[in-house]
Symmetry: C2
Subunit: 234 residues, 2 copies
Amino acid sequence: MHIFYTPDISQNTYTLNEEESKHCVRVLRLSKGTVVNLVDGVGGFYTAEITDDHPKKVTLSILNVETEFHKRNHYLHIAVAPTKNIDRMEWFLEKATELGIDEITPIITDRSERRVVKDDRLNKVITAAVKQSIKAYHPKLNEAISFDDFLKQPFDGQQLIAHCIDNQQKRYISDLVKPYEKYLVLIGPEGDFTPEEVDLALNKGYKPLTLGENRLRTETAALAVCFEINYLNR
Amino acid sequence: MHIFYTPDISQNTYTLNEEESKHCVRVLRLSKGTVVNLVDGVGGFYTAEITDDHPKKVTLSILNVETEFHKRNHYLHIAVAPTKNIDRMEWFLEKATELGIDEITPIITDRSERRVVKDDRLNKVITAAVKQSIKAYHPKLNEAISFDDFLKQPFDGQQLIAHCIDNQQKRYISDLVKPYEKYLVLIGPEGDFTPEEVDLALNKGYKPLTLGENRLRTETAALAVCFEINYLNR
């Protein structure tokens, strides 16, 4: 099954851009008459036939459309401090896309060593995972934002924060949330959130969660949250 | 907290090997009188003081020992086909060690593109994760073995196989196993197990499991199993 990501699809025909066309004809060796699949990132799953295999502008004719393809029964937004080693952030994005996530926001915290992220590169990782794992919905990657500014944004759902400070009663996600809702979870940087940041979040209504006894890296904690929320919504 | 992996510890004093000594003195800049921690990989968590900071043979004096440190309440053995790109296998080992796993066996299957793995390199990844996540137990990495030979080995516990063939009723791990037991889970290669391999496992008493609708990469499926088994044993 060959999948192409076509966010701007709107007609009964679609023409791949030069890069995708080259990939289609030169790398995948697909030719006229071949049936492929397209996903638009907003739930549309298309079956299409190659009607012109021009290596610079492959034209496709849409044969069938499924909307809300594998629509998720909940909404998960994870706001995570980007890791110092960006590879770790990238694999979190790849794995979270495979397991199921709706929105990601890189947050710059007091102890963040990395304060800049390249959205385009991270989005390519997400798109590749969308195609590889056959997802019709493309997770939304927001621009990096400071922790304080992020907390000022409204969110209509269940808000949680994962931190390692031992001064308070933390509970498992399974004890904190109900299924089929919207969730926003904050994950800190290597070195954790500062006590001030945690207090700020708690005052905004975030509930402190524990992921268990294990000491997890930032990206592992973020993926553990992704797994647990999806598990609770099966 | 500085952790050293000392599998051969036995006395009240311990001398780090040349590599670890150099790391301790030259990189971490630790000196005489500094208190560090040691893990022996079999449950021992030691507190020790540096009594000699010689850059080639650091000597430590044991101050305290905790046995069965964070002993796990279940036993998880995952047998997984090593990925074509060994980096994916390595990150699975790192993350599984953080989350909790007891034994890993690379299995060479009919469709395995990678048929050789370097144990020493993979063990270094596990050991680094053991130290980083403060684990007193070091997961056991077995030598790669053919799928057929692996199935001939006895296992006293619950045996599961994850595969993508749609010809049979598969159930969630949570519907298949009880907590606090021993689990052995088979994960196939890119391209999945062959129908013959699946039948062979089923005839050996393995139960087929599903990880849900998502199409997961080999290493993601293996980690999802690790997440779910640990979750069910909280």
